[in-house]
Symmetry: C2
Subunit: 520 residues, 2 copies
């Protein structure tokens, strides 16, 4: 089967170099991916063939970690088919078909819009299943709204009035954990292999081991239980980002760490039984019992609101609606801006590792070539200039490499953070959808009372429960804002610090080159 | 008539912005050049229309000074038609049709290869005329080779053995001059206007005035007199580089200054009667008499070698040939490398003022937009982050402008110097051609003696004269090398200094932005 790829960045062939000019967005057929030196032989739709830089093509070079990340999202309607096949992995749920044997190979395939060439192996789409289980489109909040709940003290999730408004109860010591030490394990007499990560929470300081499929299981449970109330961050994609196992494992671990840390920071999630089980189970038996219990948990979906207990005056539905509108507007706008930033960053990454690197290389080469000619003049007193010119040329070649390597040092983290937020923000339409459906139900209450479908007391219960939902949303938004400010403040500083260092490095190198010239 | 332009740099349209994707090298028809904001409305060969950044197109934006310069060369077969018409100028030789009236307008026209749309006004091509007058293809050195010359002491151009080999006699004080104070003059009761420059040599410290056509006249005389022996730098092109008069005049003055300074540095040219006349004529009458005398000078073309007097042992023809080969190889190689550097610089200039500027603007905008959304959160304690993010965004917008403005500060001078050298190197094929023709003649001498076409004494004279030519070429090459080392040393330092300052400015700005974030 012909391998297709899409052109990410327009490229103009240099005459006489067997290069192929391509336009952004064009689809190419890959003829030879093992040309080497960063080149791929490809054919365009007009039948012309030639070499194209592999960095300019999507579906070929997977070394840009954030790129695959940027195609990752929790939106099940948008499955991008960058499939990793036959690698060391354990995506399947069924224990019996658990682990694909490592072949070290990989396949990229680009699904055309509406096309049927999508390859996702046998892994199911977790999010889709969770949604199907819990919601039918927007989950119906009615069952919760009519509940006269008495919260069991153990399950109780208090909401307090803090300085910034309603807030969850935050623990004295914040939970965190370290994900480390990925180890290859085998089963079925070595026929199947998998990676096991070690997770050490700061609460017990005792490591537990988990495979990717356990993270996936946890994600599913959290979506089921809290998906109506909190944005549950997407699990790092199964889709691969690097062509080398080590790189892939490292990147997945980095992202699992980010995922776990974010969940640890959420006071409700962190304190939940299922999350605690994941972090602190003592042995295989403990784990299995805990798993079965969690899967039987009935306080899931909209019913999670029954455990929430705002110790604040009840809000009237108008206030609830106003708050909801504010959050809806904010999350939608932020989602747009985050996507903009990701797309700008994407382009910038491509520029740095593509045309800009090439250009500085050319500048460096041009200076060195001039120096070589000067060297042949036979004129005495030439040496200082030719040496300085050569050094300048080499400096620009170094700058080319620094440029190309820079995105991994700064843009990477900016992209990772924004990708995480894109994932979180993608959860809000559902959360706000449930909330709005509840508001509509409460608006209908008078009519329902008149029709004798509910009693007057039920109407009061509904309003009270809506108020609870609203406090939960407010507490969640305050949690989101506080984390957002922390995260962006941190990542922007990191970005700027690395940018400063980048330019300072260049300054240092240029000064060094400059010092080699004769001063008259 | 439809105005055509060529695409310098591939550009990918953003969807929904009425932009047009174009490929480097593509020819466009310009539909509307006054769209504003750096955009031009254009149509491609497939009939698609849309907006294209004007910086991406050649023949539209003339503000890149070096670009017109880079099309300038002394090769009359390569007349690039970027014609400036109807401006304040005085290109014509005939005094009666001297000055075009200023209209302030200009026309760019791009001549297709072999096409006939070239517009050069009524100005003739100086170089062509000079060559036709003096040479027929390669000037025949025979007339000089057979001359038993007795150098008149006044005209005598001694060649000494210096540390680096044969050298011209350099004066104690190097001549230099300042070209300044361009003034608009009028004639014919104000119907015609011209620009007069003031030239002040350091020898007399007394300013003289000259119009462009006088420089042109001087160039023609120098080509006639010295063109067989020295590379006479091209006169700054008549072709315009800026769309505004002031910019054009400033650029021309800068280049006339460079041209004069280079001639002043040449000991033979600087000391020549015609050059001295140009710099030190006392009044209109003096100028007119001097002009007439110079035009009647018969020691021109190959006969200039009759004035050269090497005070060194005679070289045998084999040595002459070896030297000539060395210089031929060097000048050809350097010509290639200089052209490479110009083309790399050209691309880099376009990158800085085009895609790179745009990209930093987008990055800046993305940060600012994110900040604007954050600002609407209603969450307290937001201000520090939003202010810092806005500042960061503005910083990247500033970096965009710094990037776009940088080539004028550093690349410009590198390009100007290389353009000058491209012009000089373009003269060597003719100089070396005359030299090689002389070598061939001397090789034939034995046969000519046998055929009784020349006497044995003539053969001796020819060998002696060839030796003189060789010393002249060697002295000239040594002059060239010494100037080259000086020029490149200077321009590279300037380039690197400005590059260092550029990156340091960015570091400063980024540090400033960084300092606005909260440190936890």
């Amino acid at each position: 089967m012909a391998v297709k790829a899409q052109v990410l960045y327009s490229f103009t062939a240099e005459p006489g170099n067997n290069e192929l000019s391509v336009q952004e967005g064009e689809t190419l057929t890959l003829l030879n991916q093992s040309v080497g030196g960063g080149w791929i032989e490809a054919q365009n739709s007009r039948g012309q063939t030639g070499l194209v830089p592999e960095d300019y093509i999507q579906g070929v070079n997977g070394s840009d970690a954030w790129e695959a990340h940027s195609t990752e999202n929790c939106d099940s309607t948008q499955q991008q088919a960058l499939a990793y096949q036959g690698s060391i992995d354990d995506d399947e749920w069924d224990d019996e078909s658990d682990d694909g044997k490592s072949t070290g190979g990989y396949t990229w395939s680009q699904s055309e819009e509406g096309g049927g060439t999508m390859q996702r192996g046998t892994g199911h789409h977790t999010m889709k299943i969770s949604l199907n289980k819990v919601f039918s489109k927007t989950p119906n909040p009615e069952v919760f709204l009519l509940t006269k709940h008495m919260v069991k003290e153990n399950d109780r999730l208090p909401i307090y009035m803090g300085e910034v408004g309603p807030v969850w109860l935050y623990p004295q010591t914040q939970l965190d954990c370290v994900v480390a030490d990925p180890k290859k394990g085998t089963k079925m007499y070595g026929l199947k292999s998998y990676i096991e990560y070690q997770i050490t929470p700061n609460s017990t300081n005792r490591p537990v081991n988990h495979r990717y499929k356990h993270f996936d299981w946890l994600y599913e449970r959290l979506m089921e239980k809290f998906g109506c109330a909190f944005p549950i961050p997407c699990l790092p994609d199964k889709q691969v980002t690097g062509r080398f196992e080590d790189e892939f494992i490292k990147m997945r671990m980095e992202r699992l760490q980010g995922w776990m840390s974010r969940l640890c920071r959420h006071p409700v999630v962190a304190n939940s039984e299922v999350f605690q089980l994941f972090l602190t189970y003592t042995d295989e038996k403990d784990w299995k019992i805990g798993k079965r219990k969690a899967e039987k948990d009935e306080t899931v979906g909209v019913m999670v609101f029954t455990t929430m207990d705002p110790e604040i005056r009840e809000l009237d539905p108008t206030e609830v609606e106003q708050k909801c509108e504010t959050f809806s507007r904010f999350t939608r706008s932020m989602d747009d801006r985050v996507k903009d930033l990701l797309s700008v960053g994407h382009l910038h990454w491509k520029r740095c590792t593509g045309p800009l690197q090439k250009e500085y290389q050319r500048i460096g080469k041009a200076f060195q070539n001039l120096s070589s000619v000067f060297n042949t003049s036979g004129y005495q007193g030439e040496a200082t200039l030719t040496e300085a010119l050569t050094a300048t040329g080499k400096t620009y070649e170094e700058i080319a490499e620094i440029c190309a390597g820079q995105p991994k040092k700064d843009l990477h983290f900016l992209m990772e953070t924004n990708s995480e937020y894109k994932g979180l923000l993608g959860c809000f339409p559902d959360i706000i959808g449930v909330h709005k459906a509840a508001i509509e139900k409460v608006k209908e209450a008078d009519r329902l009372v008149a029709m004798n479908k509910i009693g007057p007391q039920d109407k009061h219960t509904m309003a009270k429960n809506l108020s609870t939902m609203s406090y939960a949303l407010q507490a969640e938004m305050n949690h989101f804002h506080s984390n957002r400010i922390y995260d962006y403040n941190r990542v922007m500083q990191l970005y700027l610090q690395e940018q400063v260092q980048f330019y300072e490095t260049i300054v240092g190198k240029l000064k060094q080159a400059l010092s080699q010239y004769t001063t008259f």
